[in-house]
């Protein structure tokens, strides 16, 4: 076992000293991830994008439109545009959430804009319907917070302009008098409150006029904010990628481990052409142990490549990890798969050039078909079906599953099992063929 570790360590050191190899294993994948990540994501720098929300405006008043505009001005909310320019209906908005086009929908009912946002005083508080996937508890809470904030903002606007509030007060007084279900004592209390409010609005009107006549600044009214908002960082959960780097990094990782596997396949042949293979075979170990060390070095190189790339992606570019255990399974099984492929390619040629040709020539179509170039989610369905024959697809799929697809550990088993099976078959094939060649 010591000799296996010693030889594997030697291979990793040789790989590290090959500057050209390091470029293909680490730098090229990183450039790939950054380039395609910025293309797919429109260069959002890795910051979180807004939550797509469909607003169904059944009230369709100036107040309701203003309310939606207020929310749309927030970075955290992107107003999802309705299809074909027609306004959202409850049905189309629900469909948008179901299909994943929107994270949530909000229905503003008729009468929402009545009483200038003070309808709560008349007992006619409008009921806003929020539709969110039940698993998205974080988004649900966050969205409710934003809705409340906007409601208070609307109230604040009213108090900031008391004169414009007077017609609403008159309307509310009429509503209270007309409400037969309301108790006399409550009606009396509210009427007293509205009278006081109307008096306040009238005095404010006079104060503004006096300030203007004396040349003062009428806008210097005291802050009438009903509440203060404390902002909390809310970590969003979603079933889709948070940013484009979550798509481009699994792809980039594939190129990294292809580079590592191709490099080590070439190194195995290089040992033979430069004579060190004979020296290794003369050591106090079996040929199977030498081949095991080759497998171990490739496995370790793939793991290191994946971990380094994910480290950059996670810490610098905001790539999340949905499941660390799932990711560990994906990383280990992908590394095992490409170790097996390395062994196969090492048997296909007797010179470095031949092996390099086979390795890159063989793995390139696998990568193209398996989502190494075009993301799986962007492929047409027939191509997604075809991609099942490529090991790259299962490697990308398993990593996406652990990063943003929200796979359960049970769901991770299939891609991981396929990758391990390919890796084991490839490794055994390589060991048998190479051992036979050695006589």
């Amino acid at each position: 076992m010591n000799n296996i570790l010693t030889m594997a360590k030697k291979d990793l050191l040789l790989l590290w000293r090959d500057k050209f190899g390091v470029f293909w294993i680490l730098l090229f994948p990183l450039m790939f991830a950054l380039f395609f990540g910025s293309i797919f994501g429109g260069g959002n720098g890795g910051g979180s994008s807004g939550m797509d929300v469909a607003f169904v405006d059944l009230d369709n008043t100036e107040h309701s439109r203003r309310f939606i505009t207020l929310l749309g001005e927030k970075d955290a909310i992107d107003l999802e545009q309705p299809p074909e320019g027609a306004p959202w209906t409850v049905e189309t908005a629900k469909e948008a959430v179901l299909s994943g086009d929107a994270v949530a929908y909000v229905v503003l009912p008729e009468g929402f804009g009545g009483a200038g946002g003070m309808a709560m005083f008349t007992g006619n508080t409008p009921e806003v319907e929020v539709g969110v996937d039940p698993s998205r508890t974080a988004e649900k809470g966050f969205l409710e917070g934003l809705l409340m904030e906007a409601s208070f903002r609307r109230l604040q606007d009213s108090f900031a302009d008391p004169v414009s509030m007077r017609p609403d007060i008159a309307q509310m007084k009429q509503d209270v008098l007309a409400d037969q279900d309301m108790g006399d004592q409550w009606r009396s209390t509210l009427m007293t409150f509205f009278d006081s409010l109307d008096t306040f609005a009238g005095m404010a009107d006079e104060a503004i006029q006096t300030e203007e006549e004396s040349g003062g600044d009428a806008s210097e009214a005291p802050d009438m904010s009903p509440i203060k908002i404390r902002h909390e960082d809310v970590v969003k959960r979603s079933s889709g990628p948070l940013n484009a780097y979550e798509i481009s990094f699994p792809q980039a990782i594939i190129w990294g481990i292809i580079g590592a596997a191709a490099g080590l396949a070439m190194m195995l042949v290089q040992e033979k052409t430069r004579g060190t293979w004979v020296r290794l075979r003369l050591g106090p170990h079996t040929t199977a142990q030498i081949l095991a060390s080759k497998g171990l070095s490739c496995f370790a190189a793939c793991i290191i490549t994946i971990v380094l790339l994910l480290f950059v992606g996670h810490l610098v570019l905001g790539v999340r990890v949905g499941s660390w255990i799932g990711l560990a399974m994906a990383v280990a099984s992908s590394a095992a798969c490409f170790t097996g492929l390395m062994m196969i390619f090492a048997t296909l040629g007797k010179t470095e050039q031949a092996v390099a040709g086979w390795a890159w020539g063989g793995m390139m179509p696998m990568a193209m078909l398996g989502g190494g170039m075009v993301p799986l989610m962007m492929m047409p369905s027939w191509m997604q079906t075809m991609s099942n024959i490529s090991p790259v697809k299962w490697a990308v799929y398993s990593m996406e599953g652990a990063i943003w697809r929200g796979f359960t550990l049970e769901k991770m088993l299939l891609p991981c099992f396929i990758l391990l099976a390919i890796g084991l078959a490839g490794f055994l094939f390589g060991v048998v063929v190479l051992s036979r060649r050695e006589g």
Partner: protein
């Protein structure tokens, strides 16, 4: 110490080694002399276990397993079997650690190897920056890093400049003096003549003959040849040894010194005198009808 019996190895239709047998005693330097393609390297590869023979047996110092046999053999392959991306020090450390050396013992062996190869001051340079001769010396040092009892040298001087070749010869003679058993393959007869106690002449996969250098010359070298360019053509009927062609006298003899003295006693004046003693080249020519370096 090494007993090889009836070795046979074929590659497809080509029989590279055909019924090769020999025995090497402890402390002996054994030479396998033959042109390229004679089957020397194939024989070596079978001895060290890199190639499996089609037939025949190999016994190395009574070792019971292939791995045990490998532990007592050091091999300096024909090609430079080193990692050029590593320094000389790293190469030595790596190969020593494969044999279980670690700590102070490892450091001691590596220091010895660097001293032996004369590379102590270049230990931290990458092998790719070494000259051909330095690489050859390191190649030999790596073969010795685990203190083997048997050393196999496969064409160790190929592509080496005269200075490095001399250094290599001195190293090998030092090892020989220390009692190491050495198997030396070469197609340079002067190397075999200088270094080997016992020489096997190989061609076309067969051992044609095996003996000491003197024994082989005596058996197959023939007589020494004296070629004299005379001052004046001798008069007709003169009593001279050998054959005369114009002013050139050619004498084949087993005792060239006596013949030269005889010419001197007869007051025969000559411009030049050349003495050709038989050597392994002559032996090979006699045995195969070809020169060693025709290939």
């Amino acid at each position: 110490m090494i007993h090889v019996q009836g070795l046979v190895k074929s590659f497809g239709a080509l029989r590279a080694v055909n019924d090769v047998s020999f025995e090497i005693e402890r402390g002996m330097t054994f030479g396998l002399l033959g042109p390229n393609g004679a089957g020397k390297s194939t024989t070596i590869n079978m001895i060290v276990g890199v190639l499996a023979p089609d037939a025949g047996s190999i016994n190395i110092d009574g070792a019971s397993s292939r791995i045990e046999a490998r532990r007592c053999i050091g091999v300096s392959p024909q090609s430079i079997a080193l990692y050029p991306e590593f320094t000389g020090l790293e190469n030595l450390r790596f190969f020593a650690s494969l044999y279980g050396f670690k700590g102070k013992l490892l450091a001691r062996r590596v220091d010895w190897a660097l001293e032996f190869s004369g590379l102590a001051d270049r230990a931290r340079d990458r092998v790719s920056e070494y000259s051909g001769g330095m690489q050859r010396r390191l190649n030999l040092a790596v073969a010795l890093i685990h203190e083997p009892r048997i050393l196999l040298l496969d064409e160790p001087t190929v592509g080496v400049d005269p200075q490095s070749r001399n250094h290599l010869f001195e190293c090998i003679e030092q090892l020989r003096a220390e009692g190491l058993t050495i198997i030396y393959t070469t197609h340079y007869m002067e190397e075999a003549q200088r270094l080997c106690d016992l020489v096997a002449i190989m061609d076309n996969g067969r051992v044609l003959d095996m003996d000491t250098v003197d024994g082989l010359i005596q058996s197959h070298g023939g007589a020494s040849v004296i070629q004299v360019d005379l001052e004046h053509p001798p008069p007709p009927g003169a009593n001279l040894p050998g054959t005369i062609d114009g002013a050139t006298l050619r004498i084949e003899t087993d005792d060239p010194v006596a013949q030269i003295n005889s010419l001197h006693d007869q007051n025969i004046a000559f411009k030049t005198l050349e003495l050709h003693n038989p050597n392994l080249e002559t032996v090979f020519l006699t045995l195969t009808g070809r020169r060693l370096r025709d290939e």
